[in-house]
């Protein structure tokens, strides 16, 4: 049997000192991994060295890594001498690298890849200076490979993509091209939450909303009491809701309630200035009293769909705003609003109360409320006309009225009728233009050449060959000959450009990236979009200049796109809303808490970059990025308001690092129960860069005991009695055991919550809002202790944090691998390890995240295709 093993092993190509290596395997490995025992399903005696086979190559990499890390041979077996292990792994590593390089050198490392849909949207937005243009929603979702949607393996183009690109290009050009001599008139509309068409009026009839004047109940519209107000239609006709009074809101948004400012529905997409005045109060059966503190209101952009009636339209949060006690506070923001979008509102920090079914309704209610005095929406705001998008496409050519009878041979340009598709209902008015207005060119082909020569390099993010330019000019010439006007002919060329491979794909023709390709790689890494003019012009092959530009990009607000996109995938923040926590077990959960969780993780990563903090901060930190909602959730006092800020943590507080952030803890739970396996696997994979093998299909998964009579730990103990499961779970479970101290929404716990009739102990309210009803009880105790491979024991999460933080090189390496994978669009291969080691050496074991980013960008791995 051993002779067979030796025979196969000696077939490993390029392996030096084969005899020594073979002896190592024979002496230390074959005993458990031969044809008879096959521990871990590995029979080394039958394992060929067929490196061209990806599965076989991966097997050998795993063998290398297990021996290299000291995990194998197992501690109970006789240990090989360190020099012996080093020599063996070095030899195996060399042979693996040689084999992989031979294979990879024949191809490019990063395959041809198109823009992701996020990249596509950002690129179009930046190109046309239309920062809120919504295109992503039109495009099919991207797949992922090796944890990222930027991976070339997943970025193919189908006929569906092509059809959607045409649609997206048309929408972008509809908005980009000016079709009127003057900008649509900017209007300032004064709004009330009671305005017709929204639910504010309806809710005021039944006491979930009250009308306030001078911080008292408005005598002209008394709070609903035992009897709700009669006949909403009568109130509307008599103009009861057309009032300057403030609107006090008690009820939070839910499945049947949405607060929309229906007084302004956007007709013309563009920038709008939004101002509002907010304050909070304590309501006591008709009296307005000082509030319990600063509350948080949510402002959102609502995308009206279909006929715009009812609620539950898609929306996205702009931000959360302070509503201080009895102090009307104005907030102003500039927002891009698309066609048929309007402003939404919510009393985010309030508990989900409902007065409509309460005896005496608002007059029987005592509790917190948030008041909205008014909202002004002003726009569209144009600082120049025609807009920059139009200037990019048509330069300074004049816009003139197109008189059809004067051009009988020319087709009238098509026009998007914003007024016709507007879902009316607001106070804002349409400002239609009379006649057809279009760009005039006295010398169309010369103008086409000039305009396209300027546009195409920007759009394609690289120099454009004469032949390519000519192809686009030919499109214009062809359309003109076919009877199109200049604008339509140019539009056809622009649309073709926006749907062309030159626009849709990353241009990385050479192995060592040329200047423009490097500029693109850098900007798509840190801005998730095309480079700006300064980056394109900079000599990025000069290391100093590259460093300066990297710093500039990181400082720019657009780098937030990197933070969001990278964390969305590395730490799976995109999955934050994948499940809703059980309402009985976790009644304190709210969308505001969820958004705060995400904001914390993003702000924390930004802080790591900004202050260049080292990789131990991934798991352990002396500070956290919190707002009041999260601080309360974590049991930390003294944080007021919805804005995220740096908070120094008390000694021994386990919060701070990603490991114990509520977002991560929610993402790794299913909404009802936690599993040490899922959380442990997440830590191994995402934070330590050691993804565990998938479970064998023959073993049933551990189902949580919802009755609460056994803990998940006790169930896992049985599972681990199975030898097939034990070896992997010994690695996977320990971090998960320590994280059992946190529930599915990231709250710290000593005992599990249960909702089984007749069992459990009464639960203390803790930091849960007094207006939230509690029906759960406390069940079995949490045991967060355990042992990691290597005789490392831990009693709780703090011990676990210390153990993990003691491995800064592992954490840094894992982060580096993820950043490299994200920024280059390819998985870090085995043969990249020497280059990765150079990056890590340059960063240093205590080097910061910002230093790491620089080291990556300066590396050959980043600068080659």
């Amino acid at each position: 049997m051993r002779l067979t093993f030796l025979f196969l092993f000696l077939l490993i190509p390029g392996l030096p000192s084969q005899a020594a290596s073979a002896a190592f395997f024979e002496q230390h490995c074959v005993k458990c991994h031969d044809a008879e025992v096959q521990k871990g399903n590995l029979d080394l005696t039958a394992l060929k060295a067929d490196y061209a086979n990806a599965e076989n190559f991966a097997r050998w990499v795993k063998i290398h890594d297990r021996i290299h890390s000291g995990e194998m041979p197992p501690k109970k077996e006789k240990r090989p001498a360190e020099a012996e292990t080093k020599a063996m792994t070095a030899a195996l590593s060399q042979s693996l690298i040689a084999a992989e390089r031979a294979q990879l050198d024949a191809t490019s490392r990063t395959s041809v890849r198109r823009l992701t849909r996020v990249e596509y949207e950002n690129t179009v937005r930046d190109l046309f200076d239309m920062p809120g243009l919504a295109l992503q929603i039109l495009l099919p979702a991207d797949g992922t490979a090796h944890g990222f949607d930027k991976n070339a393996d997943t970025l193919e183009i189908s006929h569906v993509n092509v059809a959607k690109y045409v649609e997206a290009a048309d929408l972008a050009l509809d908005l980009a091209i000016a079709t009127r001599p003057k900008a649509p008139a900017s209007q300032k509309v004064h709004l009330s939450l009671l305005n017709r068409g929204g639910q504010g009026a309806y809710l005021s009839m039944q006491g979930d909303v009250v009308v306030l004047r001078d911080q008292k109940a408005d005598p002209a519209f008394p709070p609903a009491s035992e009897h709700r107000h009669l006949d909403q239609g009568a109130h509307e006709r008599i103009s009861s809701f057309e009032t300057d009074s403030s609107v006090g809101v008690f009820r939070r948004e839910d499945e049947s309630v949405n607060y929309y400012f229906r007084g302004h529905t956007t007709i013309y997409p563009g920038r709008y200035r939004v101002r509002t005045s907010l304050w909070s109060f304590q309501w006591d059966k008709g009296k307005v009293l000082p509030a319990r503190g600063t509350e948080a209101a949510r402002l959102a952009v609502v995308q009206l769909t279909s006929d715009g009636r009812g609620g539950q339209h898609p929306n996205y949060t702009l931000d959360y705003f302070d509503a201080p006690s009895l102090k009307p506070t104005e907030h102003e923001l500039e927002v891009w609003m698309n066609h048929n979008e309007l402003m939404g509102f919510d009393v985010a920090s309030l508990a989900p109360v409902a007065n409509y079914s309460r005896k005496d309704r608002a007059m029987g209610f005592t509790g917190p409320g948030i008041a909205v005095d008014w909202m002004d929406v002003e726009g569209p705001i144009h600082d120049v006309w025609p807009p920059r998008s139009h200037q990019l496409l048509f330069g300074d050519l004049p816009i003139e009225e197109f008189i059809a009878k004067d051009h009988p041979e020319v087709r009238v340009p098509a026009r998007k009728n914003w007024e016709k598709t507007w879902l009316r209902g607001g106070k804002n008015k349409a400002d239609p233009v009379t006649g057809i207005w279009t760009v005039r060119s006295d010398n169309p082909l010369a103008d086409a050449q000039r305009l396209l020569a300027a546009f195409l390099p920007k759009a394609f993010r690289q120099p454009v060959a004469d032949a390519t330019l000519k192809a686009y000019i030919d499109i214009v010439a062809g359309r003109l000959q076919a009877g199109e006007c200049f604008e339509s002919a140019m539009r056809e060329a622009y649309r073709s450009a926006l749907c062309s491979p030159d626009f849709l794909y990353h241009a990385e023709p050479e192995t060592k990236l040329a200047q423009h390709a490097l500029a693109c790689r850098l900007s798509y890494f840190l801005w998730n979009s095309a480079p700006d003019a300064e980056l394109v012009a900079a000599n990025l092959h000069d290391a100093k200049i590259l460093r300066v530009q990297t710093e500039r990009l990181l400082r720019d607000a657009k780098s937030q796109r990197f933070v969001e996109d990278f964390l969305g995938q590395w730490l799976k923040l995109r999955l934050i809303a994948a499940n809703d926590p059980d309402k009985k077990l976790y009644p304190e959960f709210s969308p505001y808490l969820q958004d705060s969780m995400v904001a914390e993780t993003r702000a924390y990563f930004r802080e790591l970059i900004g202050r260049d903090l080292n990789a131990t901060h991934l798991v352990k930190s002396g500070f956290a990025m919190l707002n009041q909602k999260l601080a309360t959730h974590y049991g930390i006092d003294g944080v007021v308001g919805p804005k995220i800020r740096r908070v120094e943590l008390p000694q021994d507080c386990p919060r701070g690092g990603f490991l114990t952030q509520a977002a991560i803890l929610k993402i790794t739970a299913n909404g009802t129960t936690t599993s040490p396996v899922v959380r442990g696997a997440f830590v191994l994979d995402r934070l330590l860069g050691q993804p565990p093998d998938p479970p064998p299909s023959s073993v049933a998964a551990v189902e949580p005991d919802v009755r609460g009579t056994t803990t998940i730990r006790e169930q896992l103990a049985q599972h681990r009695n199975n030898a097939i499961c034990a070896s992997c779970h010994a690695k996977i479970d320990p971090p998960g055991f320590a994280l059992e101290s946190f529930d599915v929404i990231g709250g710290q716990r000593d005992r599990y919550r249960i909702v089984v009739e007749g069992t459990g102990d009464p639960a203390p309210r803790g930091s849960i809002d007094p207006f939230i009803g509690i029906s759960f009880k406390l069940g079995l105790k949490v045991d967060p202790a355990g042992e990691m491979i290597g005789d490392l024991t831990f009693n709780d999460i703090r011990d676990m944090q210390r153990l993990l933080a003691a491995k800064p090189e592992l954490l840094l390496r894992a982060l580096a691998q993820n950043l490299l994978s994200y920024s280059t669009g390819r998985e870090v291969a085995f043969s990249d390890r020497p280059a990765l080691k150079t990056i890590l050496d340059k960063t240093g074991p205590q080097g910061g995240v910002r230093t790491l980013i620089h080291a990556i960008i300066q590396s050959p791995l980043f600068q080659t295709r």
Partner: protein, 186 residues
């Protein structure tokens, strides 16, 4: 202005005779609604509001029978013309009808005290409910005193029927009476 133009205007003014019509008004549910109608009437064109009788829910309008919309118009067209303008100026909270044929002394007055009648909108809501009932000739509803009064044609409806409609609309009646008060003056 040239003398000829002034002469023409004076002539027209002198020859244009103002006609008057009286209509029943819906929407006069509280005394202060009289002011609301008067204010809104400033927007009327080619006609004007001359007088409002709140007690009888009637209004007298004057119009220029040579003016556009009124010239050679039949009575129902004149009503439609003025009613459209009134509706438009008041968000349809006032409407006009031909006065009823039934003599005032044939009407029966019924009164309800309503719970939760505490704002203008609620008053209007309760009034609209009652006034829409077949046989209710006119009504008032006031959040100042919480009372709803209806003048009904006894041949067509009665207090119980009105109460039933109110109940269906979730309007809670605290007290109902058939108390007769002095006849309103014409």
């Amino acid at each position: 202005m040239k003398p000829l133009a002034i002469l023409i205007m004076l002539t027209l003014s002198a020859t244009a005779a103002e006609q008057t019509v009286q209509y029943s008004v819906r929407g006069l549910f509280q005394p202060d609604r009289k002011d609301a109608l008067t204010n809104a009437a400033t927007a009327l064109e080619n006609c004007r509001l001359i007088e409002v009788n709140f007690d009888l829910a009637r209004a007298t309008f004057g119009y220029d029978d040579e003016a556009q919309g009124f010239k050679k118009a039949k009575p129902e067209q004149i009503l439609q013309q003025i009613d459209n303008q009134v509706r438009s100026a008041t968000n349809h909270t006032f409407t006009l009808q031909q006065p009823r044929a039934l003599a005032e002394d044939k009407l029966k007055r019924i009164e309800f005290t309503i719970e939760g009648l505490d704002c203008l909108g609620c008053s209007y809501g309760a009034y609209s409910t009652v006034v829409a009932i077949e046989g209710v000739e006119r009504a008032t509803a006031s959040f100042h005193d919480g009372r709803l009064t209806a003048f009904i044609d006894p041949a067509k409806t009665n207090r119980e029927a009105v109460a039933e409609v109110l109940k269906k609309k979730d309007i809670k009646i605290v007290e109902a009476t058939d108390k007769q008060e002095p006849k309103p003056k014409n």
